[in-house]
């Protein structure tokens, strides 16, 4: 499976322009957002720099526009482009953070359950099953909702991003646990594991140095799909008002704010962030699909 990566990787990749483009897009967005302070013409999260007098300006190519604001401004006078970059940064942080969390938990649980089996497996997987009955987005929603109603507003606002990472991360680990467990059980039956035991290697070494590298493939694919899901979830939570605070909106929050003005002709506050969100998610999905097909050519 993995040996293919070394041999055919570039050939296969270049054979799929869609993937190349998607990867480029992701790259651009990630860099643009990561270095938002450098690229963004304004700092939308700093109230001192935004003036209410500049609000609701259309994009530059429309009349009544202001050259300082390429994609126009929102009701607060925030530069939409900058807000998108800063917001996108939040979305990406949440997306990556949450998936990272899911992967860590999922891998740990999956490896233990899959390798030791028996009671460890029974208990861990029962827990997983209970959670699996609930769609991740609902778990994240309830988690956030409950915290929002119980935590003091200032705490919630301050910790909005970590909370979302936690919510989405905790909601998503089960898929990883299941897939890891499944592939560990396959690997475990492989003779190379038995030979490791025959050599007398300690279990930790066997799991970490021998089994783990062999199960990364499916995990990688799932992770990329999950990043897309996590970003959408974050946007959705923010859209429902459970996410980032008004003063530091993520993409979803931007869209939510904008959606109230959508029909008032102030379309740019929704359409631009919306497009960015959509493009980002589609790109992630396409790349993930490609990697999956690449690692599992039968599906092509």
């Amino acid at each position: 499976m993995f040996e293919k990566i070394r041999s055919d990787f570039w050939y296969e990749l270049l054979n799929s322009p869609v993937t190349v483009i998607s990867s480029l897009i992701i790259g651009m967005i990630v860099i643009g957002c990561a270095f938002a302070p450098i690229f963004a013409p304004h700092t939308p999260f700093d109230p001192a720099t935004i003036s209410i007098m500049d609000n609701n300006l259309p994009p530059v190519w429309q009349d009544g526009a202001d050259a300082r604001f390429l994609l126009g401004t929102d009701l607060q006078g925030r530069d939409v482009l900058s807000a998108m970059l800063y917001g996108g940064r939040i979305s990406l942080i949440v997306g990556l953070g949450a998936v990272l969390l899911s992967v860590l938990i999922g891998m740990a649980v999956g490896l233990l359950a899959g390798y030791f089996g028996g009671w460890t497996d029974a208990i861990l997987m029962r827990v997983a099953e209970v959670q699996f009955a609930f769609p991740p987005i609902l778990i994240a929603l309830l988690f956030n909702g409950i915290l929002k109603t119980t935590l003091p507003a200032e705490v919630f606002a301050a910790a909005a991003v970590p909370i979302m990472v936690l919510a989405i991360g905790l909601a998503g680990w089960v898929q990883f646990a299941r897939i890891v467990r499944a592939s560990v059980m396959v690997q475990r039956r492989q003779d190379y594991v038995t030979s490791c035991e025959a050599i007398g290697l300690p279990t930790r070494t066997i799991i970490l140095r021998h089994i783990t590298p062999n199960i990364l493939g499916p995990v990688l694919v799932l992770a990329m799909l999950q990043i897309a899901v996590a970003i959408v979830t974050e946007a959705t939570l923010s859209f429902l008002g459970l996410g980032t605070p008004l003063t530091e909106p993520s993409l979803g929050a931007l869209i939510q704010i904008g959606s109230q003005y959508l029909f008032s002709g102030i379309w740019w506050v929704v359409i631009f962030p919306g497009t960015m969100l959509l493009v980002m998610v589609v790109a992630f999905n396409l790349v993930a699909d490609w990697v999956r097909d690449y690692l599992n050519p039968r599906l092509r």
């Binding site: 929603l141 909702g145 429902l240 459970l242 959606s259 589609v282």
Partner: protein, 322 residues
């Protein structure tokens, strides 16, 4: 059979866990009293109210009260509506169920044939297009889609109503809008939005399974012994494809419920989802807790059904083999 009993037992455990979480939520209250009283209420009055809501009793007492009541379908009084929670959920349930069913059926009807087709003709132009669309389908956030649909069909074209459930007719003592023209016009966009994501997911799943199955020896052998395509694809391949798909569909059902929350918010669909969001907005804890438990129940039941179907399809489980 034993398999099902085991499942039943697990379902019970799941419900216990959910109920426990529900109770924790119920306990973990900010200050419901203030959600209840308006301006111009003095401290003393608030305390009195707090007392009468039993919020000053010891935790254990409250816990037992809660569980006992919950079993009788009494989840307490909504702080924000001064109404029995169970009543309110009962009011909202039909709306959500009809939405979920409508979009669920819709997505299945479209996804299964499309999935099979793309699985069989995976190089074909149409198949490729379908797959491309499905990527969009799973990617576009449903709230965004909803907003855009409203913009186009309600605001610009003014074809479809942008909100609400429309007229309901009582069918078998179950208020539904699926049997009135107006109701259907209202249900169309929400159902479409809700359906699209599921459509993408199931379609891709079925395709993947189809590809897996078509590679198996027994399909090659079916070809080898001269069975016509119809038999091979629909008779042999499809049935085997369904085994894993059925489980997934069970999960999709519950995720439909989850996504209905968003759809209901966007289209003002008066279902349980909008109720939940209201509860969160108003920190209406009893409502939150009840919702949690209720949804848990629905999911558990749907999963049970899936397991049952599973047993029907796959003889190996029936005979307890591997």
């Amino acid at each position: 059979m034993q398999f099902l009993i085991a499942r039943l037992f697990q379902a019970a455990i799941v419900m216990l866990c959910v109920a426990f979480i529900g109770f924790l939520v119920f306990q973990y209250i900010g200050d419901p009293v203030l959600a209840l009283v308006g301006q111009e209420t003095t401290v003393a009055e608030r305390d009195a109210l707090r007392e009468s809501l039993g919020l000053n009793d010891p935790i254990i007492v409250q816990y037992f009260r809660y569980v006992a009541n919950a079993i009788q379908g009494d989840f307490g009084i909504s702080y924000s509506f001064n109404r029995e929670v169970s009543e309110m959920i009962a009011d909202r349930l039909p709306a959500t169920i009809e939405l979920v069913l409508l979009s669920g059926v819709l997505s299945l009807l479209l996804a299964v044939p499309a999935g099979i087709y793309t699985g069989i003709k995976r190089k074909g132009g149409i198949a490729q297009t379908i797959m491309a669309l499905s990527v969009i389908g799973v990617s576009v956030p449903s709230f965004l889609l909803g907003i855009l649909l409203i913009l186009v069909y309600s605001v610009w074209l003014n074809w479809l109503p942008s909100f609400g459930r429309g007229d309901v007719a009582s069918v078998l003592g179950f208020e539904t809008s699926l049997f009135t023209l107006d109701g259907l016009r209202h249900a169309l966009m929400p159902a479409a939005v809700l359906c699209l994501f599921q459509l993408g997911v199931i379609l891709r799943l079925i395709r993947a399974e189809m590809l897996e199955v078509l590679r198996t020896d027994y399909i090659r052998f079916a070809w080898a012994r001269g069975l016509p395509a119809r038999h091979v694809y629909l008779g042999h391949a499809l049935k085997n494809t369904l085994v894993p798909v059925v489980t997934a569909i069970g999960l999709q059902l519950s995720s439909l419920f989850a996504f209905s929350i968003i759809t209901e918010r966007v289209f003002q669909w008066p279902g349980m989802g909008s109720l939940l969001l209201h509860a969160i907005g108003q920190s209406d804890i009893p409502l939150l807790a009840a919702y949690l438990i209720f949804v848990g129940l629905i999911f558990t039941i749907s999963n049970l059904l899936v397991d049952a179907i599973y047993v029907l399809i796959d003889p190996r489980i029936r005979h307890g083999a591997r």
